[in-house]
Amino acid sequence: MTTEISSLKIPKPEVRRGWRASRARRQQVFRLLTHLILLAGGLVFALPLFWQLSTSLKPVTQVYNYPPEWIPQPFTWSNYPESMKIVPFGLFFRNTTVIAFFGILGQVLSCSMAGFAFARLRWWGRDVLFALMLSTMMLPYHVTMIPQFILFRHFGWVNTLLPLIVPRLFAGAFFTFLMRQFFSTIPRDLDDAAKVDGASIFRIYWQIILPMSKPTLATVAIFTFNSVWNEYLPALIYLNTTEKFTVSLGLAAFQARASLGGLRWELMMAATTIVLSPVLIAFVFLQKYFIQGIVITGVKG
């Protein structure tokens, strides 16, 4: 539009050209300023992780130097194996992986099934149940925490991984809603065509709907993984011997144990880095799904 106007006015007035030039200059300055702010902000955001890494590689004598030194001198890689010796992190990784494996499988299957029922099938009571589900979406965990504990204790599940796995075998309201929303966008012609071909409802779910929803399934899987990996309060309530601990609980126990003989921050930062690494590695490979998941759900993981 601007080009049309300027081509109409053949001799451009001086003033206007000057205004344009200053406007371009202003935009340049503005962009430069934006970069400067973003770079400064980025530095602030990157600093804690850099400091964690740097501390984790320092020899014990250097950690308490003041003023602090940025670069480990010398690089003390042995902090990592040493921190693994204080508490059995290998075991914690195995426990957490077991929970994550069954938890992800359970959530992806159960949420997609319930989402399928709400989005694609017609049955008596559907709308009532859907409204009920929505109403539980923001329900805080702590309201159901105590009776759940009493129930699981009654089953003899205290100090087993079951209380952290079993609730994930039943569809969570939030992911079910997410699935339902996504399934509603898949054209119905596909189901109808399959039905004409004599496909059963289960086959439509398994061979048409699920394969088309891989990104949403990936989102549910990633979010479940993150929630398992960071879960603290339920683990604290149910697990009470070291060999059953998850990584989060293990890290907290590590803090208690490592601080017995004065805080060994270099070992704590090494342990923290070890615990964080699976999440960071997952992010590197699945960045797209992380970002997509956050955008679709409007929830920050």
Binding site: T34, L38, L49, I146, A252, W265, V299
Partner: protein, 311 residues
């Protein structure tokens, strides 16, 4: 559609009956994984917890109904309950607005046509992956009064940093600042919302000579207000339930300055095993969360702008 199917069913009633039955069976079968969880892990426990809140059960004792006794105790003779609610509310009031301002500013900066958008976005997002105990460990170290990086950097600005987590006044703000590092997720959400604002609106405003600030205030903010609304509600619900940070960084201290309600609930329920009283505390917190959420929802009609609705 409805007409044709009903006329069909008039002629072929038995078969249609079978089909409805089949469809119903399939629907209920597929929804079962949610329904079982809902009954056994949500609705049932809620009823049980409501009942327990009127008892004095402690896992071993016999269960006595004490009526409103727990409620009277919470509101009258147990100052820690209201104290912990105040702490949680203060934490929410501090952390949620700070997070909103920082994430919205970052998102607005990233919404400019600049190079390196992906790079910046990644740098700001990665910290949000650090949560729970790992976040607590890292910030305990950063906030250490004598050796911590934060006080060292502040000393360059000629600011004598406080003792943070061991200072009664600064412990709670320190926890709120800690959450600020994880605003990357919120930033992504706001960035997506900003990118959804139609550019025609900005072009029209520019023709009218609106300043950048005016464009932000009169176009951007109203257009993304539904996203802000949702984030604020979720943020407050989350902040009122904060547990991990206070349990691992300060153990509720110093002098109960960071004793959040869920931490108190944990102590009453799982260290003293007073399940009845703990259930009452849980319900009180639930009602506070509900009331606050409803309050924000009511206020939303004055500041949340929904496209295509008369405001």
């Amino acid at each position: 559609m409805a007409l044709t199917s009903s006329s069909l069913s008039a002629t072929r009633a038995p078969r249609s009956w079978k089909r409805t039955l089949q469809a119903n069976a399939a629907g209920w079968l597929f929804v079962l994984p949610w329904l079982i969880g809902f009954v056994a892990l949500t609705a049932g426990p809620m009823i049980a917890s409501a009942f327990l809140s009127f008892t004095n059960w402690n896992l071993i004792s016999q269960l006595d109904i004490v009526g409103l006794g727990n409620w009277r105790q919470m509101l009258r003779s147990d100052p820690l309950v209201l104290h912990s609610l105040r702490n949680s509310a203060f934490f929410a009031m501090l952390s949620v607005p700070l997070q909103t301002i920082v994430s919205l500013s970052l998102a607005s900066l990233l919404n400019q046509p600049i190079r390196g958008l992906r790079f910046y976005r990644t740098v700001f997002f990665i910290p949000s992956l650090v949560s729970g105990v790992a976040l607590a460990m890292l910030f305990r170290w950063l906030l250490s009064p004598d050796l911590g990086l934060i006080n060292y950097l502040l000393s360059h600005l000629n600011i004598a940093g406080p003792a943070w987590l061991v200072d009664r006044k600064w412990a709670l703000p320190a926890l709120a600042f800690t959450t600020l590092w994880g605003v990357g997720g919120m930033m992504i959400i706001y960035l997506a919302a900003l990118q959804g604002v139609p550019t025609e609106l900005y072009e029209a405003a520019e023709v009218d000579g609106a300043l950048a600030w005016h464009r932000f205030w009169y176009i951007t903010l109203p257009m993304i207000s539904p996203a802000i609304f949702f984030q604020v509600v979720m943020g407050i619900i989350g902040a009122l339930q904060e547990f991990t940070l206070s349990h691992t960084m300060t153990q509720g201290g110093p002098l109960n300055a960071t004793l959040f309600t869920v931490l108190y609930l944990y102590r009453v329920g799982f260290q003293q095993f007073r399940m009845g009283y703990a259930s009452a505390v849980a319900w009180l917190l639930f009602f506070v969360i509900l009331a606050l959420t409803l309050l924000i929802m009511r206020s939303s009609r004055h500041w949340v702008h929904y496209e295509g609705m008369a405001s």
